[in-house]
């Protein structure tokens, strides 16, 4: 059995509006899966379904073969599925290290152990210097990194990143790419990467799903996605930049 986080036939409708339509997507462990698509395509909704924040109208989610059922979000995190948010959502009144400690405590560690793990994780990510800063006042890029650190506490099996590079410079996005590679190789996570920076997605991902108006319109390795007519069509008018070329 392959280890993966999978949606089968997932449909989500918000009174009348179909946000996701029969989506099949698989995030295997120890690899990076990309999810791209125009704004409003349903990418965040899919992450919400995978993490228990949104019950699917139809279809199901399985992890390593087991049905996740209708578990609430905090239980899903206990099973080892972690996420970040498009809008950051740090605990702005807490220090950076306490932001990470919350996950440790949420997963059942004592404060002492959670605190030690948080310090370790900040060190692993190379952001120990931020430890005692209040999360609310952080610059954008640091905020993103802290959010990833918070999600990575206690080494989840799957990590879902919702537009983590938004607003980053090219260099910062490169750093993030390298971090994601380390997350896969050193922690062994299966990563789902949602990103508008197509260049980064093509470079970082092993497999890419393209979502448009709630439907998966293409799946494949970067080379296939790059060449796809359908993808080109879906992005018409939005003119997403790759490095040098327009996809």
């Amino acid at each position: 059995m392959t280890e993966s986080l999978t949606t089968e036939n997932v449909t989500v409708t918000f009174d009348g509006l179909t946000a996701l339509s029969k989506v099949d997507l698989s995030v295997p462990k120890r690899s990076v899966t990309g999810l791209i698509g125009p704004n409003g395509a349903g990418k965040t909704t899919l992450v919400n379904v995978l993490t228990g924040f949104q019950a699917p109208t139809a279809g199901r989610v399985t992890m390593d073969g087991a049905d996740l059922g209708a578990k609430p979000a905090h239980k899903i995190r206990h099973l080892g599925i972690a996420r970040t948010f498009q809008s950051g959502r740090l605990f702005s009144d807490l220090s950076v290290v306490d932001n990470l400690e919350v996950t440790g405590v949420g997963l059942g560690l004592s404060r002492r152990k959670a605190s030690a793990k948080a310090v370790e994780m900040l060190d692993w990510m190379g952001i120990s210097s931020l430890a005692e800063r209040t999360a609310g006042g952080l610059p954008y890029t640091d905020e993103r990194r802290v959010a990833i650190g918070r999600a990575l506490m206690l080494e989840p099996k799957y990590l879902l990143l919702d537009e983590p590079a938004a607003g980053m410079s090219a260099e910062e996005a490169d750093d993030l790419s390298r971090l994601i590679a380390r997350i896969v190789s050193e922690i062994g996570c299966g990563v789902l990467l949602i990103e508008h920076n197509i260049g980064m997605v093509l470079k970082t991902c092993d497999d890419i799903h393209v979502l448009d108006s709630g439907k998966i319109i293409e799946v494949g390795p970067p080379a296939v996605i790059k060449a796809s007519e359908k993808v080109r069509h879906a992005y018409m008018g939005t003119q997403v930049e790759t490095e040098g070329e327009v996809l």
Partner: protein, 362 residues
């Protein structure tokens, strides 16, 4: 990689400073050495228990409760049931079960049982209420207060309904009051630095991210609800032994309003705010009460009109809400490393902002 000091080591100065404040208040009473003033101070200590109890739920969860005075009512009546002499309660509270009406418990055992009694009801109400957030949750707690008040105002044979029940041994003196307030501060502090306290404050900031971090928000809220309900229950029991007489309306809107005002004025999200709010507002109330009674100037007596006190408290609260919405303490904790009334918050915003100071490494 630098090892971090334990949370206790980082924050212990807060309960120590608060203890010193409480000791100073007790000392003031000894110094003035006047029976009426001492009673005022005992009332201040009971208020500290009430407001610190409110902080434990409201401050950590961010959900304003209008209902907790109901638990104070429960604690007060419970200790009355246990300690009024059997000869009296056999007639005045005919509905009590025999095991209660035929026996009289000691002060300390009765207070303990009254606290547990309030805790059990806090658990039962909390089970339902903690699923609600924001204004919905607040309104529901208000409904709870109204329900409790209605039961205590009408259950003639058990609570004496609206007529007062008498004969409660008057045991709460200066040092019992002090001990109660001190214990409340210690319990609230320990809760705030506990795993549950941290998890609940994270949910107060960002409920969605807290759930995504594995925090079961309803469960943590319930813990805080029970702890704070028990502190209120204990406060009610001490208050009963302070007054000697009880009526249900002593535990209704008036007390709810004044206690919440104290919490808001001090700073809702900090334990220090709860204590400071009580001390400052009590001082203002006491001053105005004296002025309402009148002071003699030469052979004329000059007095403020009655009601000035209530109006002034409302005024103070509005002024604070406008100019300092995070309260006198700015929602920070008192600690050795700084003084929140001066430059601390602007200088080092990072360290102590939440609940009990979390990162006071300075």
């Amino acid at each position: 990689m630098v090892a971090r000091k334990s949370v206790l080591a980082r924050t212990i100065s807060t309960p120590i400073i608060l203890t010193l404040i409480l000791l100073a208040v007790a000392g003031l009473s000894l110094w003035v050495n006047n029976g009426i003033f001492t009673r005022t101070i005992v009332e201040v200590f009971i208020r500290v228990m009430v407001v610190v109890g409110l902080y434990t739920f409201i401050g950590n969860s961010g959900v304003v409760s209008f209902g907790h005075i109901g638990f104070m009512c429960m604690g007060a009546y419970a200790t009355a049931w246990f300690t009024i002499p059997p000869a009296m309660k056999k007639y005045s509270l005919r509905g009590l079960p025999e095991i209660i009406s035929h026996n009289q418990l000691s002060f300390s055992l009765s207070i303990t049982l009254a606290t547990l009694f309030a805790g059990i009801f806090a658990y039962l109400f909390g089970k339902i209420l903690v699923r609600l957030s924001g204004i919905t949750g607040s309104i529901a707690t208000f409904a709870m207060l109204a329900m409790i008040n209605t039961v205590y105002s009408n259950w003639e044979t058990v609570t004496g309904a609206t007529s007062s029940i008498v004969g409660i041994p008057r045991k709460t003196d200066l040092w019992t009051g002090f001990a109660g307030a001190e214990l409340a501060v210690i319990v609230a502090y320990l809760y705030a630095i506990s795993r549950s306290g941290l998890a609940l404050r994270s949910a107060r900031d960002e409920a969605i991210a807290a759930a995504a971090s594995g925090v079961d928000i309803a469960r943590e809220r319930l813990k805080a609800f029970v702890v704070s309900g028990m502190i209120l229950g204990a406060a009610g029991a001490l208050y009963a032994h302070f007054l000697g007489v009880l009526t249900p309306d002593a535990f209704y809107l008036g007390l709810t309003f004044i206690s919440l005002s104290m919490l808001v004025v001090g700073g809702m999200n900090s334990l220090s705010g709860a204590v400071v709010g009580v001390v400052v507002l009590s001082a203002i109330i006491e001053l105005l009460r004296t002025l309402e009674k009148g002071i003699a100037i030469g052979n004329q007596t000059w007095a403020l009109p009655h009601g000035t006190q209530e109006i002034a408290i409302g005024g103070v609260m509005i002024v604070i809400l406008i100019f300092r919405p995070s309260g006198l303490t700015r929602n920070q904790e008192l600690s050795w490393s700084g003084w929140p009334f001066s430059e601390r918050s602007s200088r080092q915003k990072s360290s102590i902002k939440d609940g009990v100071s979390e990162g006071a490494s300075a």
